[in-house]
């Protein structure tokens, strides 16, 4: 009875163990050598750096990138759809076409909403 749980227990032990080891390794390996301000500063061909290493990006980049990902990822549903399309259309008619069209239509409404709300308006 209890033996049935051994795989689960092993699973948990190994998983927790790996996470612990990875984090300890992070602490140990991450502190090799001593740090000092000069070492931590950005290397700029001997020039003294003038500002922080990572400038802030405009939040507009983030907005456009997010909208791109959202619309881009929806393509994933079209791959399986395209694979079964021919077989399905021979078998049960054109409903498969209309269902995908309605899906795209919903996306289109989302796109129109984004444009009307000025989310893609770069100059704003």
């Amino acid at each position: 009875m209890l033996q049935d749980y051994t795989p689960v227990l092993l699973h948990v032990i190994i998983a927790v163990g790996f996470a612990t080891v990875a984090m300890i390794a992070n602490i140990v390996l991450g502190r090799t050598g001593k740090r000092n301000p000069t070492k931590d500063s950005v290397y700029e061909c001997g020039m003294v750096p003038e500002m922080a290493g990572q400038p802030r990006f405009s939040v507009k980049f983030y907005l456009v990138a997010m909208l791109f990902i959202l619309f881009d990822i929806e393509i994933v549903f079209m791959y399986p759809w395209a694979v079964v399309y021919q077989d399905f259309i021979a078998e049960s008619g054109t409903i498969i076409l209309w269902s995908m069209l309605s899906f795209v239509l919903i996306l289109l409404f989302g796109y129109v909403y984004a444009i009307k709300k000025g989310a893609l308006d770069w100059s704003r």
């Binding site: 049935d4 749980y5 689960v8 919903i106 409404f109 129109v112 909403y113 009307k116």
Partner: protein, 481 residues
């Protein structure tokens, strides 16, 4: 006769229409959007009485089921959404004050549109019988709730509540999908009906994998229904979220979560080797939830936070009903309790919104002297608090009574004992509100609380229903699936 799937489709179409109306500026006043949404949802509600047998191919693929239970909960969800929208209209000035806007009123239209999409998700959720469908519907609901909870971007508490809900909601999603993974691995199925069929045939060697998956899914749904020990987001999120959203979370999200829990657990109650473990887990969860929810509510001074803890406590009574599911009436008792819970929770929140607007906060102290300022509102609040506590002649009493009865029949004496003790502590903390209203003096300059007509009508109807069902519970029992 309407094909059942058109119900959800028309709710989504309504949502898209409202979104376009908002984007193209068709509605001059933002509250017009709310009235359109309420009208559309009411039409869908009427449509639920005219649906034909489920003729579409969804039934064949096993994704979508239309039975008495799902139909009852579709109506439940529609009514909750309509009440939330009524409340939101009342709440609109606060939204417009706390949302940054370039023009007056900009950015507050979506406050009425998001509940419509959430409603569609909830309606799918109560009909879902496949893990794929459950996952998608649940995420539609959860993601639109993230936005709604964090909606007030100038209010620090709303943003914080949104962040907390985001992280813990996403965590529960992670648990849910990983649990589904193990179900699929052990049974080769994602469909609950199919899982029910193959479950007795699974070799014993695979049982740990299934139990592992079951535990993960139980954790994930425990987050949704706010069962202890997965409740820690509840008080903060309930306090920080806009009040109509809090009410929505407390009622509709929790009810749909319970229905999914019932559907997921159902196959496992038929197999004896799972039954015992599941039963033990449910009893433990119920016991912890009852004790923690009621005891932690006692020292609260903020009314929304108090209702947060009380919603945990109510989850405890509902879990007690689930643990007693072997009893013939236990399922009906749980549904009865949820319906009563809808009435009294919405009543409390509907009263809270005008009181917050008039006195500038949602602490219990802001209710001081309400009986002298607005006797009608105070009386309605008295009814809501009495029903939440479970005083006889209210619907809350019968809800608890039926659940205790089912638990007694199943021999869960310990749970019933804990239930009765915690009901007593419930009397104490709900009484604090009543004391503030009737025995504390009102602030000097306080006049009567202003309230919109629709809200007062809704408050009147809910209060009457609580009293009527408290005397004739048969009216509701007759409608139960």
């Amino acid at each position: 006769m309407i094909d059942p799937v058109f119900l959800e489709v028309s709710v989504v179409v309504l949502g898209i229409f409202l979104l376009m109306a908002e984007a193209f500026g068709l509605a001059k006043e933002k509250s017009t959007l709310a009235w359109w949404a309420i009208g559309g949802l009411a039409a869908v509600f009427i449509g639920t009485f005219f649906i034909g047998p489920n003729s579409n191919s969804f039934e064949v693929s096993g994704f979508y089921v239309v039975d008495g239970l799902s139909l009852f909960f579709k109506r439940f969800v529609l009514i909750s959404t309509i009440l939330v929208l009524v409340m939101s209209v009342d709440y609109l000035p606060i939204v417009q004050r706390l949302v940054p806007a370039e023009r007056p009123g900009a950015g507050s239209g979506e406050f009425f549109i998001l509940p419509v999409f959430t409603c569609a998700g909830l309606m799918w959720m109560v009909s879902a019988t496949d893990f794929i469908m459950i996952f998608c519907a649940l995420e539609l609901v959860t993601i639109s709730f993230y936005i709604q909870v964090a909606y007030l971007r100038r209010s620090m508490s709303s943003l914080e509540a949104g962040t907390k809900y985001l992280i813990l909601g996403a965590l529960s999603t992670g648990f849910l999908v990983y649990g589904i993974t193990w179900f699929f691995g052990a049974t080769g199925q994602t469909n609950l009906v199919a899982i029910r069929e193959v479950l007795p045939l699974i070799p014993v060697a695979n049982h740990p994998a299934i139990l592992f998956g079951l535990a993960l899914v139980l954790v994930a749904l425990g987050f949704k229904i706010a069962a202890v020990p997965f409740q820690f987001w509840v008080p903060d999120v309930y306090q920080g979220a806009p009040t109509p959203v809090t009410a929505y979370l407390a009622v509709a999200s929790k009810a749909a979560g319970f229905l999914v829990l019932i559907r997921v657990l159902e196959p496992f109650f038929t197999v004896p080797s799972f039954q015992n473990k599941l039963f033990l887990a449910l009893v433990l969860l119920a016991l912890l939830t009852l004790v923690f929810g009621n005891l932690a509510a006692i020292p609260q001074t903020n009314f929304k936070r108090l209702l947060g803890y009380s919603s945990i406590a109510h989850a405890g009574y509902l879990l007690m009903g689930l643990a007693a599911i072997g009893d013939a009436f236990a399922g009906g008792a749980v549904v009865f309790y949820l319906s009563g819970y809808l009435l009294m929770t919405f009543l409390a929140f509907l009263i809270l919104v005008p009181v917050t607007k008039a006195s500038g906060g949602d602490d219990i102290a802001h209710f001081n002297g309400l009986a002298r300022r607005s006797p009608g509102l105070a009386l309605a609040m008295l009814i809501a608090a009495a029903s939440l506590a479970g005083v006889p002649f209210t619907v809350g009493f019968f809800g608890k009574f039926f659940i205790f009865e089912a638990a007694m029949n199943q021999g869960l004496y310990l749970l019933v004992l804990a239930g009765i003790v915690t009901v007593a502590s419930g009397f104490y903390y709900y009484f604090k509100v009543i004391r503030a209203m009737y025995w504390q003096p009102a602030p000097e300059d306080a006049g009567p609380v202003a309230i919109t007509k629709t809200s007062s009508v809704a408050i009147f109807i809910l209060a009457m229903l609580i009293l009527i069902l408290g005397v004739y519970p048969q009216l509701l029992i007759g409608m139960l699936p």
